[in-house]
Symmetry: C2
């Protein structure tokens, strides 16, 4: 189909599609004439993924890297998970002290070398953010975080489909990125429910 | 102290402090002369909170609203939680279908009217994001999300300090915002650990 048909089919304006092409998010169509290209179902599908990532608050640059992870030849679901994470994780920050972070993630079953440096740096960065605001996670709460988050990750990794590499790629890459807003939103609802139960709902 | 001393004390450049003053993030100092204002420990403390929120990726506009929640007269820890959440939650989106979201959050113990509309809309928005990318949370995974997130919220709400209103405000407002990056980073580490255990660590 032509770009105008792709636009109608995907419900996305032509200038937006051209922007995604320029940004390298969408692969070029097949040249059918010097000024015309043909697009297929793969483009429609890719547009859905791009829109979902951007709607989830992923930046254009990160979206490009996540898309790259979807397209990259991959050796294993594990390598793929690393690629998905590094697409959305800032580069390691040498100024961070990793000892506190290492101590915390040991509670997840982590051992040295078991995950990418960048992801460990993310934990250190989050801990530094809490510390610099003078906020301390209560001693009784941290073990609940570690157990609950490990339970979540276990369920997610147990669910990685193994019947096709393509299904595994989609699941790992999109699941790690797109589920984040869901978990944060669920936490806010759960906090309000737990708070209503503890303190009583007040009319505001 | 003067603005130059506040700058030295907090380790933040004077132009940045002036920017925060203009943006309404930092309250004006007490006028000591027509062109001079005096700042105190409360300003140092407030600067720490501003820096931590911004470092956590909270926008200037959202930081202003979180700060507003810290300053607002509040009636209860529960009302405060609502104020903190609405500071960082986009306005409700009328185009969202809340029925699927309501069905999901019932698994958290939610009943109609038990939380702010905006927070429920966040769940609906996250579910729409997953759906529009063609990603489905496996049926076995969703109950684990709900149980784990409810456990996290229970521990957090149980930890709300009740000895002083100020301590409760800090805990609720900063805890709900600043812990988010920690939980997401822990999830990435836990996914890599669970993945290494399931698929075996590969040298990349």
């Amino acid at each position: 189909m032509r770009i105008s048909e792709l636009s109608a089919h995907a419900g996305i304006p032509v200038p937006t599609i051209k922007y995604y092409l320029r940004e390298g998010l969408l692969p070029e169509g097949e040249r059918s004439a010097p000024t015309q290209a043909a697009y297929g179902e793969a483009h429609v599908e890719r547009l859905r993924v791009i829109r979902a990532l951007i709607a989830a608050g992923v930046s254009i640059a990160e979206t490009r890297r996540v898309i790259g992870a979807l397209d990259a030849p991959h050796e294993s679901a594990h390598a793929l998970l690393g690629a998905a994470h590094s697409a959305i994780t800032p580069a390691p920050d040498g100024s961070l002290d990793l000892s506190a972070a290492s101590g915390v993630v040991e509670g997840l079953g982590w051992k040295p070398g078991m995950c990418d440096e960048a992801v460990l740096h993310e934990v250190a960065r989050a801990l530094r953010g809490l510390e610099s605001a003078g906020f301390e996670v209560p001693a009784a709460t941290m073990p609940v975080y570690l157990k609950s988050i490990r339970d979540i990750a276990d369920a997610e990794i147990a669910g990685v489909p193994t019947e096709s590499a393509e299904a595994a790629v989609r699941y790992v890459v999109l699941g790690s990125v797109l589920v984040e807003p869901l978990l944060l939103a669920l936490r806010r609802v759960a906090q309000q429910v737990a708070s209503a139960e503890r303190f009583g709902r007040q009319q505001e």
